[in-house]
Symmetry: C2
Subunit: 222 residues, 2 copies
DNA sequence: TCCTAATTTTAGGCAAGCCTAAATATTGCC
DNA sequence: GGCAATATTTAGGCTTGCCTAAAATTAGGA
């Protein structure tokens, strides 16, 4: 039906990401920042995507995705995350290396490919960073997760995701022995700088900065 | 090092394919035909690729790939064929469906991805159509294969490849129960129209047109 | 060899995506 | 409410890849 260029797909995804949390519209500047491009280029593209009915654009008002645009963006996210699972699970890439490759793979056009990949990977619900994978109809699993920074001393929890998934952050977590599935217990929280002291299952005690605590998703286990 | 656009990569591959059998140069028209584009567009691109040192171009003389261009084209062929193996072996696509998807996947840029894919697939030597897969250094297996049309009555042989790999031809072979690895015996050759009667292992006897016989590669087994 | 047909190149143009600089609209603060 | 800062759009331009039509070159047959 609609075959979009990679550029168009990338813009849709940017709008999707910006609007998925806070439901407001996506501003020209926000999109430009996310895509590392100029505001002028964004305006250009927004007009074209609007003409194709993929988003609603009014001068100076920001944009929101149309029904169709939202479907396409969700499918891109699905493909991106499925490929990340493939790269980690089958090709044994580490979780900090897969994003850039998935950025390319997500643009491959073939519904049958996506379906077969999904089956092959045994219909995974979450990607290597703990992000939920939409199913073919766009629905995705919800999980009651909280930021480490919101836990209190005594809380026991398991790491289920990362808020940020830059290579540097992921590599830092590797160094700290933290990965998805890691169990930990909160020992202390320092109000002075928001850092926290936690204990891992093997008894190791580590202190994590506020920034780290704001980027780790956990599920309370007690 | 050189990061090429998909268009540039496709032109390199076209030149590679045209020149790989008969070692002469690739003509503008031949490239245009292979890429379903105009001769003017080809001339345009040849100049650009020549400026990048990927091929040798002289007006009205056709082109040949440079050392570097040949390396890049070979690597593309490697990626294309590895992805085809993945699609058939892992995702259970039929051999007539994989080419178009591999045309897209071959442009994904990541040497590590190719290497890991190769390992994962257990370093296959041939793709689902029997075509040899170049290794990381560009070398590929040679096989002494002949066209079915060159066999004589009494010859016993095994199907190892297809000359043409269009979806219609591959589907025809499926219908005829012919696939890579199929053993057959030549019963008769009709000089009138070049068709041949062959017997399969299960005793089935079929007659194949000259066109089919000219597109099937076999390895004699007796 | 000469002339015509076929091939190839050039010229001119267009759309997609990007850019910078300038113009305009909106926001927020006094 | 008015004005300055900020956000956004417009204008003009560039490259890549494509097109058609016209010009130039090459090849092949008489
Ligand atoms: Mn990612
Ligand atoms: Mn991810
Ligand atoms: Mn192929
Ligand atoms: Mn093949």
């Amino acid at each position: 039906m609609d075959v979009l260029t990679q550029a168009e797909e990338n813009y849709l995804k940017a709008v999707f990401k910006i609007t998925e949390n806070d439901d407001k519209s996506a501003s020209t500047n926000a999109i430009a920042a996310m895509m590392s491009t100029s505001a002028a280029s964004v305006t250009d593209m927004l007009k074209r995507l609007s003409a194709k009915g993929l988003l609603h654009y009014e001068k100076h008002r920001g944009v929101i995705l149309s029904e169709r645009g939202s479907e396409l963006a969700t499918n891109l996210v699905r493909k991106h995350r499925l490929w990340e699972v493939f790269l980690v699970k089958m090709l044994h890439f580490s979780w900090d290396k897969v994003h850039d490759i998935a950025e390319q793979l997500e643009h491959v056009q073939s519904d049958e490919l996506v379906e077969r990949l999904d089956v092959y990977l045994e219909r995974p619900q979450f990607d290597p960073h703990g992000d939920p994978i939409p199913d073919a109809s766009g629905k995705m699993a919800m999980r009651k997760q909280v930021l480490l920074s919101s836990l209190d001393p005594g809380d026991q929890a398991v790491v289920v995701g990362v808020q940020e998934s830059t290579a540097t952050f992921l590599q830092y977590l590797d160094k700290m022995q933290l990965s998805l599935g890691t169990n930990l217990r909160v020992l202390e929280r320092f109000d002075y700088d928001g850092s926290m002291k936690i204990a891992l299952n093997d008894g190791t005690e580590i202190t994590l900065s506020h920034k780290v605590c704001e980027n780790l998703f956990l599920q309370k286990s007690k």
